[in-house]
């Protein structure tokens, strides 16, 4: 008995993480009853981002340009390269203000069971970057989970082979926690107390 367009909209909202049938319904009604212009802006922002945002050719983070603003900045070419799993991790490290170098974004972690090997997380690109002599220190900031640790170990071996100093964020990150949800203080601690590996 529900309007088909509203039903489709409610189902479409289910693609969002953490949105079940009840919240999807609330979202649809909220926009249609009270904020159609906000709904239209969201629709436009979404289609524009989906169509134009791709990956930085240097660090693999999400960007609508060929290379992201951090990779473009000469100020950031300090020789320190921080490895993270996701663009959200870049965001939280940038917020803390503790790190001035560049990033390499894996867009995931090694997960052989899901068919995600070194190539899928861009480690061929990382290896050629390590071999060109521009990286003086590799700071590994993958999540302290089983997969994140395995990925860190793999990258560490790669860096050792290339003769690049490697360190890993350590102190302050709770086991099993996710970088994305850390506060800036804890994260700054983890940067300052990073241990070589």
């Amino acid at each position: 008995m529900q309007s088909p367009l509203i039903q489709e909209l409610i189902e479409a909202f289910r693609v969002l993480p953490g949105v079940g049938p009840k919240s999807a319904q609330r979202m649809a009604y909220h926009l249609l009853e009270r904020n159609k212009s906000g709904g239209l802006l969201l629709s436009q922002a979404l289609s524009k981002a989906v169509e134009e945002v791709g990956h930085c050719s240097l660090c693999r983070t999400l960007t609508e340009e060929e290379t992201c603003s951090i990779c473009q900045s000469a100020r950031r070419a300090t020789g320190e390269l921080c490895i993270v799993e996701s663009p959200a991790d870049v965001g939280v490290i940038e917020q803390s203000g503790i790190f001035q170098g560049q990033y390499f974004v894996l867009m995931g972690h090694l997960s052989p069971i899901d068919g995600i090997g070194p190539k899928q997380i861009g480690l061929d690109l990382l290896e050629s970057r390590l071999s060109d002599g521009s990286v003086s220190e590799l700071i590994i900031a993958t999540n302290p989970t089983v997969e994140g640790e395995a990925t860190a170990h793999y990258i560490q071996q790669m860096a050792i082979k290339q003769g690049v100093v490697v360190s890993r964020l350590a102190q302050g990150i709770p086991m099993g926690g996710e970088l994305e949800y850390l506060d800036s203080g804890t994260l700054s601690q983890a940067f300052l107390a990073r241990r070589s590996m």
Copy 2:
């Protein structure tokens, strides 16, 4: 340092109820990293619904047609007219299966302090409907809040003037609760035990 398009998308997600900066960011990254096609479908469903969904000319609920499917159905012309505050309330009553009549959707409640009087919630339309003799019983299912009760009282007076029997959902609805979040059982109870007023 964030991509402008991603930043705009994150801000756009804030129009959704219950979505703060952190969840907005998670939603944006989730779609861009893992489900671009889902994001595009959401964008399309949203613009289509925003552009085409309006109000039923008979009951005021949200619909993309001139009149909604319930108002169109001859089976539903039982003479019972249920007054609710929102389209979501129609949904939850329909789910319970307890009610076979038609609805009138206020799209809000009386709230003089916000400039919402009888006209803003369509009571002129309701009054002309009550006067045409098609309604044998008015079942008021506004929320059991202060504003919902005041609105119920106003409509009750209107119905009495028109000589239409009025009842109000009563038993089982917790004070201060919102109809939209009730389970079907409680709601069915409230229908069966409705008291005349």
